[in-house]
Every structure is written in structure tokens, then in C-alpha cells.
């Protein structure tokens, strides 16, 4: 008995070591499982408030570039709008019809403005922290976009902050399609450069070519259809040879995210509920 006690006393640091490592890995795996708490992340109030302050300072550095992008985008949209308006005016003599179409396009969605206060692109699993949370109407499973394209999906929310799983995360899987031909697949990322991601499960008979634009498919309840994702950069065979694997150059520059919009689709719960029922039947 005395020997046993001496043994424990002599090697007590081993026990502390095992204990601390166990806590670390418990935190790691709990965060990876879906229903983790937001406490041990940058969505808690201390780190959230600190990143807010830091973002107030660093946010100014990108303003010029962001402004340039917005002006560019604005010009493009204005030109498009003009040509579409002309076409529409030709097609329908009734001018109130145009107003109605405009209203209907945004009727199904709530859009929240949010700022990125923490971001990374170097890990295998990157996360983004936003400065809006449950109190502002953000819930998990909402889509996040910026001016140029898709960013990710809201993962965890605390009262005033939320964490987003961006495309640059091994857990991210976004349903998307080729704009020209409507064939769809899943957008995945497997590490490496933050500029490229992959579209998997693109059927063998689908039609596309290099440079085609990839947009969200609208099949999931998260994103409406037609939000830009990127362009086809390279075409390869999938590992099992049954489908194509497309390398996509992403429109969104993840290393320079600042202002984003969170999209909430009305009736999202209804669709999720219905899909859950189907899964339980199986």
C-alpha cells in the first residue's frame, strides 16, 4: 500500500498530464460534434467584445479596396438592370408588372447585415465569427454571402455573436449547380489554397466547359438558388470514376472578408421539418 502511494506521488505529473490532455481533446471533439456550446469559442462575450474593438480598427484598412469592388459591382448591376428593364418593358406593356416582379424576388427572404470580426484561412477547419447573434435574429443553418458570392453557413450562435462554417472547412458542403445547364453537385474544400474548392458528384453526362459559372442550386433550405460561387477552373475524374470532380475558383476572397449578409429563408423551418420526417421514416 505504501509503495502504491509512493508510486502515485512520484509520478503525479503523469496524472496531471493525462488530465489536461483529456480536457483538451474533449473540447476539440465536442466542438466538432454539431451541438457544441459557443462558450469555448470566439463567440463568448470576452473575446467577442475584444474582436469588436480590433475590427473597428482593422476594418478601415480594407475600405478602399471594398469600395472599389462595390463601385464595380454597382456599375455592372446598373447596366444589367437597364437592359433587363428594357427587355421587360418590351415584353409587358403594363409598367406595374415590373414593380411586382421586383417585390416578389425578395419576398421570401430576410436579409441581415453583419461584420466579420474574426476569420482564418490557414487551418484545415476554418471558422468565421460575426458580430450579430440570436438577439439580432440570426439562427444556425442560415446562409451567409458577401458582395461577390457565397461565404458559408451559420453554425453556432450566442446572444450577440455567431460562428459561421465557411466554404473553407472540411465540414462545409453546399449544394450548387452549373448556371448554364442546371446539373448539380456538392461544393467541398480539402485544404490547401483558399482560392479554390471542389464540386463533387457532378454526373458523367452533364454539360459544362472551363470557365462556366457555378451558382447555388437552391435545393437546400439554406441558400436561395442562383447565388454566385465561382468559375470552373479544372476538370478531373472523381476517385471512383463515376462522376466528375471540378476545381472551382471561388469568387469570394476569404482572406479579405469584412461585410457580409446573412440570408434567412422564410419557411426554412417547414422545409427542414419535412426533410427530417422523411429521414425518420427511413
Amino acid at each position: 500500500m505504501k509503495n502504491l502511494l509512493n508510486f502515485f506521488l512520484k509520478y503525479n505529473y503523469w496524472f496531471l498530464f493525462v488530465l489536461l490532455e483529456t480536457i483538451s481533446f474533449a473540447l476539440l471533439f465536442r466542438f466538432n460534434s454539431y451541438q457544441g456550446s459557443a462558450f469555448f469559442t470566439s463567440a463568448n462575450w470576452v473575446s467577442g467584445a475584444m474582436y469588436d474593438v480590433a475590427n473597428n480598427v482593422t476594418g478601415y484598412f480594407h475600405l478602399k479596396a471594398i469600395n472599389d469592388e462595390l463601385v464595380q459591382k454597382n456599375v455592372e448591376l446598373e447596366l444589367q438592370l437597364e437592359s433587363i428593364r428594357e427587355a421587360l418593358a418590351e415584353a409587358t406593356e403594363d409598367s406595374s408588372g415590373i414593380e411586382q416582379i421586383k417585390r416578389e424576388a425578395l419576398a421570401g427572404y430576410d436579409i441581415f447585415k453583419a461584420s466579420v470580426i474574426n476569420n482564418s484561412v490557414t487551418h484545415a477547419d476554418n471558422y468565421i465569427t460575426l458580430d450579430k447573434g440570436e438577439a439580432d435574429g440570426i439562427r444556425s443553418e442560415m446562409g451567409v454571402v458577401n458582395g461577390s458570392g457565397v461565404v458559408g453557413i451559420v453554425y453556432l450562435t450566442s446572444p450577440h455573436y455567431s460562428i459561421v462554417i465557411p466554404v473553407l472547412n472540411s465540414k462545409s458542403s453546399i449544394s450548387c449547380k452549373i448556371r448554364r445547364s442546371d446539373y448539380f453537385g456538392f461544393l467541398k474544400w480539402d485544404g490547401g489554397s483558399s482560392e479554390f474548392a471542389f464540386v463533387k458528384d457532378m454526373p458523367r453526362h452533364s454539360l459544362f466547359s472551363l470557365g462556366d459559372t457555378i451558382v447555388t442550386s437552391g435545393h437546400s433550405a439554406v441558400f436561395p438558388s442562383g447565388i454566385p460561387v465561382g468559375t470552373v477552373d479544372d476538370i478531373a475524374d472523381s476517385h471512383d470514376g463515376l462522376s466528375y470532380l471540378l476545381r472551382v475558383k471561388l469568387f469570394t476572397d476569404f482572406a479579405r472578408l469584412n461585410d457580409v449578409r446573412v440570408i434567412a429563408q422564410k419557411g426554412q423551418e417547414e422545409q427542414l421539418e419535412l426533410e427530417k420526417q422523411v429521414k425518420t421514416i427511413k
Partner: protein
């Protein structure tokens, strides 16, 4: 070094790491993990348990800000656990002696070997945990090599600046 000074260092290094260094990279490679300087410079006479608890809290703070719960904490705890043996391996001194590891107290070559071993140990563990799901060996090795190199450069710079004072 008093406790208050240690806590100042602790907070300073965590803020430097999460606000500046975590965002530094060259196409995803070469991120410095300078906060382990705190563990490397702790007096050699410190108990293993005390150093491990400091390291765990340090790693956990960096984790909480960086959205990587447990990763840095696990790697820093291993580093604190292995630091004593590594220090004894590179110095031929009596292990009972209490000194702050540095160029002055150890000489350049033993100190360099000490930070080289410790940094590579830390970066390897951290990045293996991080890239768990991918097993892309060349990328992983290149990441370990570049991250550890830039960390060592940072530590040597800090040493040089502090020695001049």
C-alpha cells in the same frame, strides 16, 4: 520574475498571437506560434505540474480566440511536459540549478538546439491535430517545416531585442 510580470507576459503574448500572428501566413504556410516563448523562457527549476497548468491555460486562451478549442492547449501541454527532459538533454548542467533559458545562461548552440527541438515538437503536434481529416502528408510536412522555422526566427529576434536592453 514576479507573478504579476508573468501575467502581463501571458496577456501580451496571447493578444499578440490572436490579433496579429494568427493572421500572418504565406498562402496558408508559415504562421508563427510565438506564444510558446512564454513556456520556453520559464525558469528551469519550475515544477512540471506548474508549467503544465500555465501552458494549458495559455493554449486554451489562444484556442478560445482562434476557434480551435483544445488544439493549442493539447500541444502546449505536451510541450510543457517535455520541456524538462529536452532542457536536460541539451545542457550538461546539473539539473537542480535554477536558471532562465537563454543565450546568456546556456550559450548560443545549446539554446538554439533547445528551441529547435521544442518548436518542432509543438508545431508537429499542433498541425497533426489540425489536419486530422486530410492526411495530405507533403502539405503537412511543409506546413510543420515553415511554421516551425518562422517561429524560431521570431524567438531569436525576441531574444536579441531583450538582450540589448
Amino acid at each position: 520574475m514576479t507573478y504579476l510580470q508573468r501575467i502581463e507576459w501571458f496577456i501580451g503574448l496571447v493578444l499578440l498571437q490572436v490579433l496579429v500572428l494568427n493572421h500572418m501566413h504565406i498562402n496558408g504556410y508559415a504562421t508563427p506560434f510565438f506564444f510558446i516563448y512564454f513556456i520556453l523562457k520559464y525558469n528551469s527549476g519550475v515544477g512540471r505540474n506548474v508549467l503544465m497548468i500555465w501552458a494549458f491555460l495559455l493554449g486554451l486562451s489562444v484556442d478560445i480566440f482562434g476557434n480551435t478549442p483544445g488544439m493549442n492547449a493539447a500541444a502546449a501541454t505536451v510541450l510543457a511536459f517535455m520541456r524538462g527532459p529536452v532542457l536536460r538533454l541539451v545542457t550538461l548542467r546539473d539539473s537542480a540549478e535554477d536558471f532562465e533559458p537563454g543565450v546568456k545562461s546556456m550559450g548560443f548552440s545549446p539554446f538554439f538546439r533547445y528551441i529547435l527541438l521544442c518548436t518542432f515538437l509543438f508545431c508537429s503536434i499542433l498541425l497533426v491535430i489540425d489536419t486530422f481529416s486530410f492526411f495530405n502528408l507533403p502539405v503537412l510536412l511543409l506546413k510543420i517545416l515553415t511554421d516551425a522555422s518562422i517561429t524560431i526566427v521570431c524567438i531569436l529576434c525576441a531574444e536579441a531585442i531583450r538582450r540589448k536592453k
